[in-house]
């Protein structure tokens, strides 16, 4: 991890189901990640809670609509609003996904896979530079779960992430669950993916649940983190050292205490692994 940004610890995705309880209980959560688009509005409940929570906790902004690999021009209005939100909440960093979510004519509202080709690399690196110019900070990009891949790839996904971060200066949000989901769907070794990423570029980790259908796995964020993902997470921390970790849940919201218990599990595991690393050092 780069020395310029402190280790934020263990955070939760901020979801409206828990707004009230967060302010009432001020739980032992180190930071919150907010879905940027949910707060790119002019007023109301979401902004009220965001302001109140950002006063008390560090916040990171995580977008879903940048469409960094999309076939359209980057949306200047979107970037302006994103920057305004950043000025409001002063996030530790701003992330989105290595994907496309908007087509030529329409918004597709999904994190769609990209061909990992030389053409994509040049195209996306140029767009990352434009975004970084506007935001005046490195963009952090997350690996997505995928269900098909292009037959003409020049790179594996991890080689592409590595090359893109090198060429564009972007940083990486490593979603351990997404690596697991894609590894099952495409038949690669998840550890090869993770250990290939440049340590100094990995700004943040994501943990989430998925739905396992046997022959394939879908990234649903509606279950607790699975055992294989916990095992990968442990190995990831052993390899990278301390990296800010975020637990995501987007559906089938459990009671808040259950989610806090799951976050506590990440913290305990992290503390254990990191203490072991220090002893070895």
């Amino acid at each position: 991890m780069s020395a310029s940004v402190p280790f934020l610890g263990y955070g939760l995705g901020l979801r409206s189901a828990y707004y009230q309880q967060i302010l009432e209980q001020l739980p032992d959560v180190d930071w919150f990640e907010v879905v940027s688009e949910n707060f790119m509005v002019q007023g109301g409940k979401a902004l009220y809670f965001l302001d109140a929570i950002a006063e008390r906790y560090p916040v990171v902004m995580h977008g879903v609509s940048l469409s960094i690999g999309g076939p359209h021009a980057l949306d200047a209005g979107y970037l302006k609003q994103l920057k305004q939100l950043a000025e409001r909440v002063k996030p530790a960093w701003i992330s989105d996904h290595l994907c496309w979510s908007r087509g030529n004519a329409h918004q597709l509202h999904d994190l769609l896979p990209l061909p990992y080709t030389e053409e994509s690399l040049a195209y996306i690196a140029g767009r990352v530079a434009q975004v970084q110019d506007v935001l005046q900070r490195p963009l952090v990009l997350e690996n997505v779960s995928s269900y098909v891949r292009a037959a003409t790839d020049d790179f594996t996904e991890w080689e592409f992430l590595q090359a893109l971060s090198h060429v564009s200066g972007c940083e990486l949000l490593l979603d351990v669950n997404n690596v697991y989901v894609s590894s099952r769907n495409h038949g690669f070794d998840p550890w090869t993916f993770i250990q290939s990423l440049p340590k100094e570029k990995v700004r943040q980790l994501h943990l989430a649940g998925h739905s396992d259908y046997g022959e394939y796995v879908i990234d649903t964020h509606d279950h607790p983190v699975s055992d294989p993902v916990w095992a990968l997470y442990q190995r990831t921390l052993e390899h990278f050292g301390p990296v800010a970790t975020l637990l995501e849940r987007d559906d089938h919201f459990p009671p808040f205490a259950e989610l806090l218990d799951e976050l506590h599990k990440a913290r305990e595991l992290g503390d254990h692994v990191l203490a072991g690393r220090q002893q070895c050092a």
Partner: protein, 262 residues
């Protein structure tokens, strides 16, 4: 295939109702050990439609309740195909739903349904409108006698003014309160329904015609307080100023007005 061409083909596949990928798209993809290309593409196709339908079901809960899953999804699916999303935020997906209902269905079907869609959409508009600076009772109490006659107001940014011919509010309320869903009916007298946000909560209220006409004068016709009193004199005579103050206090108490500075 070049990146742009490949994305065009992928986008066209997602937007088509039928889940049949063109051979050129399928041939450009590979699956995994137990996930074939067709299944992988179907996951994306299903997710696209399901995500958008869920948004519309959440934004139009009363219409969903009224039509049921199958009929709602058919209507919303037709809307999505005709008006694919253009805004980066799904918050705006339902913006044209009311117009689509009005234009897509025959008038006998569409009139009450589109009015209900307008009502439900108005709540979403009030929910995240800019906060504004509501005129307060305390501020009014401090007005000098000279300020009263020339007092002008404007609506809070969240205020939505709806004119209703059907019992849409009763339908909406029954879904919210989980009571028996009434039959759709034409109102004996059309009524004005206001929706606005005060503090963080959305409020609604129906107005009797006289009150609606008075508020309309202030907000739309630009009357000041003296002009409101003069207009009310026709009906209320000497009691006009008292009636004007009573209503004004209520509207201010409800948090639906801003002072229009001179």
């Amino acid at each position: 295939m070049r990146l742009n061409e490949w994305q065009l083909a992928f986008e066209a596949f997602l937007l088509e109702e039928a889940m049949a990928a063109p051979p050129t798209l399928s041939a450009s993809l590979i699956g995994g050990p137990t996930l074939d290309v067709d299944t992988g593409l179907a996951i994306y196709h299903n997710a696209y439609k399901a995500r958008l339908l869920e948004v519309l079901r959440n934004d139009f809960t009363a219409i969903h309740h009224w039509l049921g899953d199958e009929e709602f999804d058919a209507l919303a699916g037709a809307y999505i195909r005709q008006h694919p999303s253009k805004h980066y935020s799904l918050r705006w997906l339902g913006q044209g739903f009311e117009t689509f209902i009005r234009e897509h269905l025959v008038p006998e079907q569409s009139a009450a349904l589109s009015e209900l869609a307008t009502l439900e959409w108005a709540f979403t508009l009030a929910f995240d409108a800019p906060p504004g600076a509501p005129l307060t009772i305390e501020a009014m109490a401090a007005f000098s006698p000279q300020e009263w006659p020339v007092l002008k107001v404007k609506p809070m940014p969240s205020l939505q003014w709806l004119e209703q011919r059907f019992n849409s509010l009763a339908l909406w309320r029954s879904v919210k309160e989980a009571t028996d869903f009434p039959h759709s009916e034409t109102l004996e007298v059309p009524q004005v329904c206001l929706i606005w946000r005060s503090d963080l909560l959305c409020n609604y209220r129906s107005l009797e015609p006289a009150e609606a006409s008075a508020l309309h004068g202030l907000l739309i016709e630009g009357w000041n307080f003296a002009e409101l009193c003069a207009e009310l004199t026709v009906i209320y005579g000497e009691g006009a100023p008292l009636q004007a103050v009573t209503w004004l206090k209520q509207w201010v108490h409800d948090g639906m007005l801003e002072r229009l500075e001179r």
